[in-house]
């Protein structure tokens, strides 16, 4: 069956290269004391980030679920942007807001106390550097995801229950206890664990904002082992540790909670009666405002910084844009197809296989593939294939969470009818699956396109010098003192990523076929 084949292909794609690295290294090497410190820090920051993202997402999701206001859809869409933002761009935006010279500190600076004896004014200031900065950045990235997942839980509570509760005279507290808490208890473990898994492989965020060697993650240890020590045995071992951690988290998530995905969601009309009371209304408004500011200000900062740089961009940016678009669109087609095949296979371990790429270290994966390909072909000839494959694998965990529940829903509702009519293969796909799944597929395609657009995606070992991608070009410009041009290209990247996301997402919402 196509689904099982796809699941096997994914596991093969992840494990065989790792095996190749072990083979080349002649076995594994035990991680040293510093590596274990890195493992501890990685777990700790991922746990904090996951819990913080999830807890903050609860009131935001509740506010979004039960309030109606003009521009709600646009707000939700915009609030999702950080998740699809390239790390490097997001960090720039975060620093522009929370950095030492950022907006927040500028505002705090306005409230300086008069100078004491030494003549320097005393100012309050916040620092983004340190563990809290890492967590802040991870919350920035993952809050949108968490909100969407939890919102889905809220929308899954049948409207009749809220009506019944209102009919029985239940106050907001009772509704919380009777309806919302059981839903949260079922949903939150899954949310915590997926954010945890995402944060486990953090590299640039943890290092740039971490403030020093305390903030060493496993991914950095792998990088160091591979690049600066050329210790393949240790790199492979660390990669294995990382894989086990994420797989463990994934298994826990499957056990502990309903892991239905974040669905196309948001389109379902829910007649949830907004609870009365000015205090509650104000509370909801406050949560939504804070979340919107938290997520949108850094994006605004990226935009402002980039505007003046647009004119400075060298012509190569356009070639890179073309390359990135081509990769993003091909990766989208492939990822959605693979996810659909997996989703229609309907098996638990298939779900887990789709999650596994979260754990893969791109460096070790790339090295393994290089070791496999190099003896038989020129790696550069395989650059496109490898880049695509890596992008597909990296987007799959997210896409699968969207497509899987939707596919199950279609099969549950219409599977028997289709079976009784003998709709199989292409006929079933064309006349049932695709039209019924337009929305989730559109959403999934938008997410994949944006993620592949923003992914550095290129494994240095396979990089084709003439086929630079846009994120790589941003990075190259930054590395050549051309900060303005880099900011311009980063803005271009932001606009294109988000634009692709919107086009696919909205396309999925278009009229159904007749």
């Amino acid at each position: 069956m196509a689904g099982r084949a796809a699941a096997l292909a994914i596991l093969t794609f992840l494990l065989v290269p790792l095996g190749a690295v072990f083979w080349r290294a002649g076995g594994g090497a035990m991680p040293d004391v510093h590596d274990w410190a890195a493992v501890r820090f990685t777990l700790w920051q991922a746990a904090l980030s996951a819990v913080a993202s999830t807890l903050l997402a609860v009131p935001v999701a509740r506010a979004v679920a039960r309030r109606r206001f003009p521009g709600r859809g646009a707000l939700i869409a915009l609030m999702g942007a950080p998740f699809i933002l390239p790390v490097i761009v997001a960090v720039i935006g975060l620093i522009a807001v929370y950095g030492r010279g950022g907006l927040v500190n500028d505002l705090l600076g306005l409230a300086c106390l008069p100078p004491p004896g030494d003549g320097r004014p005393r100012c309050l200031s916040v620092s983004i550097y340190g563990l809290h900065g890492v967590v802040l950045a991870h919350v920035f990235f993952n809050l949108p995801l968490a909100v969407r997942l939890i919102l889905q839980g809220w929308l899954a509570i049948p409207a009749e229950r809220f009506r019944l509760a209102a009919h029985l005279g239940a106050g907001p507290g009772d509704v919380q206890r009777l309806l919302e808490w059981p839903m949260l208890r079922a949903t939150l473990p899954g949310v915590v664990l997926i954010v945890f898994a995402i944060c486990l492989s953090s590299f640039a965020v943890a290092l740039t904002l971490g403030g020093g060697p305390r903030a060493t993650t496993v991914e950095l240890a792998i990088y160091q082992a591979f690049t600066y020590d050329f210790d393949l045995a240790r790199a492979a071992m660390l990669s294995l540790v990382q894989l086990l951690l994420v797989t463990g988290a994934g298994l826990l998530a499957l056990r502990l909670g309903r892991t239905e995905g974040f669905g196309a969601g948001l389109d379902r009309r829910i007649d949830m009666l907004p609870p009365g009371g000015r205090a509650l209304w104000l509370g909801d408004a406050a949560w939504m405002t804070v979340a919107a500011l938290f997520l949108l200000l850094p994006l605004g900062a990226v935009a402002v910084r980039g505007l003046s740089g647009l004119a400075e961009m060298p012509p190569s940016v356009w070639g890179a844009t073309g390359n990135s678009l081509a990769i993003a669109l091909s990766a989208t087609l492939l990822t959605v197809s693979v996810a659909l095949a997996l989703a229609l296979a309907r098996r638990g371990w298939v779900d887990l296989a789709g999650m596994a790429p979260l754990a893969a270290s791109p460096l070790v994966l790339g090295t393994g593939l290089f070791l496999l390909i190099n003896p038989v072909a020129r790696p550069v000839d395989w650059a496109l294939v490898v880049t695509l494959a890596v992008n597909v694998a990296m987007a799959l965990p997210f896409v699968l969470r969207i497509v899987l529940p939707a596919a199950q829903e279609v099969e549950r509702s219409y599977g028997r009818l289709a079976d009784s009519l003998g709709m199989r293969g292409m006929a079933r796909l064309r006349w049932l699956i695709l039209p019924r799944m337009r929305r989730p597929l559109g959403f999934a395609a938008g997410l994949t396109a944006a993620l592949s657009m923003g992914d550095l995606g290129v494994i240095a070992l396979f990089s084709d010098p003439d086929k630079a991608t846009l994120p790589l070009t941003v990075f190259r410009l930054m590395g050549a003192y051309r900060t303005e041009a880099a900011a311009g290209a980063a803005l271009l990247l932001l606009v294109l990523s988000f634009g692709l996301f919107l086009i696919f997402d909205l396309g999925g919402r278009g009229a159904a076929t007749r």
Binding site: S413, Y414, R416, L417, D419, S420, L421, G422, M423, R424, M426, A427, R428, R430, W431, L432, P435, R436, A512, T513, R514
Partner: protein
């Protein structure tokens, strides 16, 4: 002839047995309390549930291992009998070719079926824009073009009002009169069983009783049927 040959069904803890035959052209109503297994029996005949043991035959041919679409069966479910994203014409067309590659004659056949059930001129409408009764008619039009000798109804009209339900059952009997098809329907309502004027089988306590003529059964109910009718 439909033959339920010492059929034993199991779904989790639930068990059901049936051992009887039904002649071609017969109309059978399965009645019994909720959860007694009426739909389960129908699902087994349609091919959605593999029997634990026993066999299912149609005119002597063993159906037990056949997939749903290869059985001589057309079926209407409790709900979701139409694909809401496809026009009425396409929904009917699926009964002719599941890949919808209809030639002119097949298209005409589908249109004629729609005409027959009183939906002429509505071919291009989406199911959502039709009333409940019209949706049921559209589903019946598909049954017509499917042209299968055995029709299974799993309470497809239960959401309709009494008058509309009666109208649909009349339409079903009229269609069966034309095609000479065999009918098995699940029903809660004894009046539905009377309306189709055929056989009756009580499904209760893990057993689907052999069909008996409906008039007789109601005039002279068995203890089980009496309990059910209250």
């Amino acid at each position: 002839m439909l033959q339920l040959d010492d059929l034993r069904l199991r779904q989790g803890d639930f068990r059901l047995t049936a051992n009887w035959t039904l002649a071609e052209g017969d109309r059978l109503a399965l009645i019994g309390p909720s959860g007694a297994g009426k739909s389960t029996l129908l699902a087994a005949i349609a091919g959605f549930l593999r029997p634990d043991s026993g066999a299912l035959r149609w005119n002597g041919a063993d159906l037990t291992a056949e997939p749903p679409a290869r059985r001589p069966v057309a079926m209407l479910f409790q709900d979701q009998n139409l694909f809401p994203h496809l026009s009425i014409l396409r929904n009917v067309g699926l009964g002719i070719r599941p890949d919808l590659r209809l030639n002119a004659a097949q298209r005409a056949q589908a249109l004629a079926a729609l005409e027959r059930v009183g939906l002429g001129g509505m071919a291009e409408r989406l199911p959502g824009s039709l009333s409940g009764g019209q949706q049921s008619r559209a589903a019946l039009a598909r049954v017509l073009v499917q042209d299968r000798p055995l029709l299974l109804l799993d309470e497809p009209f239960s959401a309709l009002g009494p008058a509309l339900r009666a109208e649909m059952l009349d339409l079903v009997t009229a269609l069966l009169d034309e095609t000479g098809g065999t009918l098995i329907m699940v029903s809660h309502a004894p009046e539905d069983a009377r309306r189709i004027g055929g056989l009756l089988s009580l499904v209760d306590e893990g057993h689907a009783a052999a069909p008996v003529p409906g008039g007789e059964a109601f005039a002279n109910p068995s203890p089980g049927l009496r309990r059910y009718l209250g």
